[in-house]
Amino acid sequence: MRKDFAWFVRRGLLLCAILIVCAGIIGTVRADRYSTEQWFDLVAFGLTLGGVYALIALGYSMVYGVLRLINFAHGDTMTVGVFIAYFVARGLEHTKLFETSPAVAVAIILIVGAVVSALVALLVERFAYRPVRASGGFAPLITSIGMSFLLQQTCRGMFGSGVKAYPDPGWLQGSMRIGTFSVPNVEVMVLCAAALVMAGLYLVVNGTRMGTAMRATAEDPRAAVLMGIDINKVIAFTFLLGGLTAGVGGVLYALIYKQVYFMMGFLPGIKAFGAAVLGGIGSIPGAMAGGIILGLAEGIGPTLILDGLGIPAPYQLRDLFAFALLITVLICRPQGLFGEAPARRA
């Protein structure tokens, strides 16, 4: 293999990154500031956050896989679902369902959030993306940015610009003991729910006719049409699945942080997009892994690496750290961790 200048630059950057990471880890371990329980807390929280990012990232990845479109409105479709679920949750508070059957109450608001997000995603696809799909160029991309603003401002107009507090049922406030460690119930619930949804999605995509059609469309849309696949139906189904997972992710996010506001989809949306790219955009396992890795990087990265390098107040650099990781991966593996490299043309 011919080693060109870019190859050396990539390897040099990778070596620098590895050296910095090693120096940071050694510094942190030698300082011995954190107890085992605290490391466990950080990992558990990183995994929880990663689970949520993964759920949201799935929508980005599936839509990109089928349409080659980056759906910037994805985080905002999630916001709409979370808002409607918030009102349902507030209503449920009056019924005392949170006290008598907390699991049922949480399941109801998760389902409401998922269904509403999925409906919004379907509407966006039908009335905003489908008309410009054939036009190519930047039209679909700009449309997605426009839809993002439209949904944000609609939420602002309808629900106000203030932060609304999500219900905090007593059931989610406690902690669970795992050996000598303690994990908040909300984190356990979020991890379990995220794992269930991801497993369900994996089964749908790999074990149903519509899932097969989705994969075929992602592989080669023209060939899929020639094989009799109704591509409009497949695309709508993809948006439906993306909306469902994003809705669940959004409600879980709101249950962790106990708040909802009209811009809440923006930041997790951007991070989930980063997670999808990190895992290899278009790849469903990649989106799951990317989300988990990004969550862990945010959760433990600043403490494990930046702290050991003697950087004061490393927490404020956590986004920088997470995206530096993303850039490093992309420099070394442009298609992401699980993405396929573009085929070389003869």
């Binding site: 500031r33 605290q38 929280f45 203030g162 932060v163 106990k258």
Partner: protein, 414 residues
């Protein structure tokens, strides 16, 4: 076509001259003023600008201050020097961009006499120079960053005064209280990068360290951050006695909630600043708000002006609720000193036209020495008009409807 262009050009030139004449003329009989004279024809409204955070998680802060100004307008029977008072209130959203947009809009109105507000120092920092460039005095109502009234401040801030204390004074008070009264010897500070929080933390650290306290670390977050666990885990490893966090509602609520589930921080004392004197923090923090302390001006009757209790009654009857935040009195006083200064410098001719010299108005406001409802209002040459007397409050109930300054949060010091 040529004639049309000539006509349009002439019209524009005349319009520019008329506009410039209204704002920058030095002499408009009977008034001469180096900054320009504002002319109000008979019956024209006297426009007061205002800009506060009126939406979002900190809206209570700004709404409370807007109400303070509205009540002052009511007390003046909505009329000043023979003109109806009109308040043009802008929502500047507690951000630099919001402040810049609001100030540009207010400054572009040649009839804006004076501007009251803002709530946040981050709004005042870009806004005050824009307003002063147009010759408009800005009176801050809860923007407390020391740089705004520092002796060495930029000339763009020479038109800025405020009826709220400086964080330089609060920082000293907070440092003394935490070291000498709470006997806390190790603290961690958190700011959100806003001029208010970062400058207050800097002043606090200066005092606290000078007293012999140990500042373990000075952390920073974004106002929109929700994920505080990594930060709190790091802080827990330092084992502080107190976390000093004069930040805003959304982030403070997250820290309060997540600290309760962070190993090692379950009982660590959280102390916030005046930005958390609002019922919204109870909603944001939930049960975790109980035990949270905030430092704030002492609002006991002996510390405040004599008129404060009556003012609170008027507030309740006008808005059907107790004050929703803590800076309404400062906002009332800001409007009151502006109105008194206008009465002092405005001249009205026989035809009922009123003339207000802008430099004269600035000088009159900066010469204020009076009793306000928030206490003594005596402006110095740098526009600092308020004196700070420390009070410490503690939230004792997690029900948002129980918010009432003095009861929940309950005054615990002095």
């Amino acid at each position: 076509m040529k004639h049309k262009l000539s006509f349009a050009g002439a019209a524009m030139a005349i319009g520019s001259l008329v506009l410039a004449g209204q704002v920058h003329a030095e002499t408009v009989p009977p008034v001469t003023d180096p900054l320009g004279v504002l002319v109000l024809p008979k019956g024209a409204p006297l426009e007061i600008g205002g800009y506060w955070v009126l939406s979002g998680s900190d809206a209570a802060l700004g709404v409370d201050q807007k109400r303070g100004v509205e009540l002052a307008i009511e007390d003046w029977k909505k009329t000043l020097v023979g003109h109806p008072i009109v308040l043009d209130a802008q929502d500047s959203q507690c951000s630099a961009e919001g402040g810049q947009i609001a100030a540009t809009k207010l400054a572009s109105n040649p009839n804006t006499v004076v501007v009251i507000g803002p709530s946040c120092s981050s709004e005042a920092t870009p806004a005050a120079p824009i307003l002063w460039k147009a010759g408009i005095v800005d009176i801050g109502t809860s923007s407390t960053a020391p740089s705004l009234t520092a002796a060495d401040r930029n000339a763009g801030f020479h038109g800025f005064a405020r009826t709220v204390f400086s964080d330089a004074d609060q920082g000293k008070g907070d440092g003394n209280y935490i070291f000498n009264v709470l006997k806390a010897k190790k603290v961690v500070t958190i700011h959100d990068g806003s001029p208010y929080a970062s400058q207050l933390v800097a002043e606090f650290v200066k005092t606290y360290a000078a007293l012999g306290g140990t500042v373990l670390s000075q952390e920073a977050i974004q106002p929109t951050d929700v994920d505080m666990h990594p930060l709190l885990t790091r802080i827990a490893a330092e084992k502080p006695d107190v976390i000093y966090m004069p930040i805003f509602v959304a982030a403070a609520g997250q820290i309060a909630r997540q600290a309760k589930t962070t190993t090692g921080l379950e009982t660590t004392q959280l102390i916030g600043g005046g930005s958390l004197m609002t019922g919204d923090i109870i909603t944001a923090a939930g049960d975790a708000v109980v035990g949270m302390k905030i430092t704030y001006p002492d609002i006991s009757p002996e510390a405040l002006g004599k008129g404060y209790p009556d003012f609170v009654e008027k507030y309740k009857s006008a808005y059907g609720e107790a004050p929703v935040s803590g800076y309404h009195a400062m906002a009332y006083d800001a409007a009151a000193i502006a109105f008194k200064a206008i009465e002092q410098v405005a001249k009205t001719d026989d035809e009922g036209t009123t003339y207000i010299g802008r430099q004269a108005l600035r000088d009159a406001i900066f010469a204020t020495d009076t009793d306000g409802i928030s206490g003594r209002i005596k402006c110095d040459a740098d526009g600092e008009c308020a004196q700070f007397k420390l009070g410490v409050f503690e939230y004792v109930n997690a029900d948002p409807t129980t918010f009432k300054i003095g009861d929940n949060p309950k005054k615990i010091y002095p």
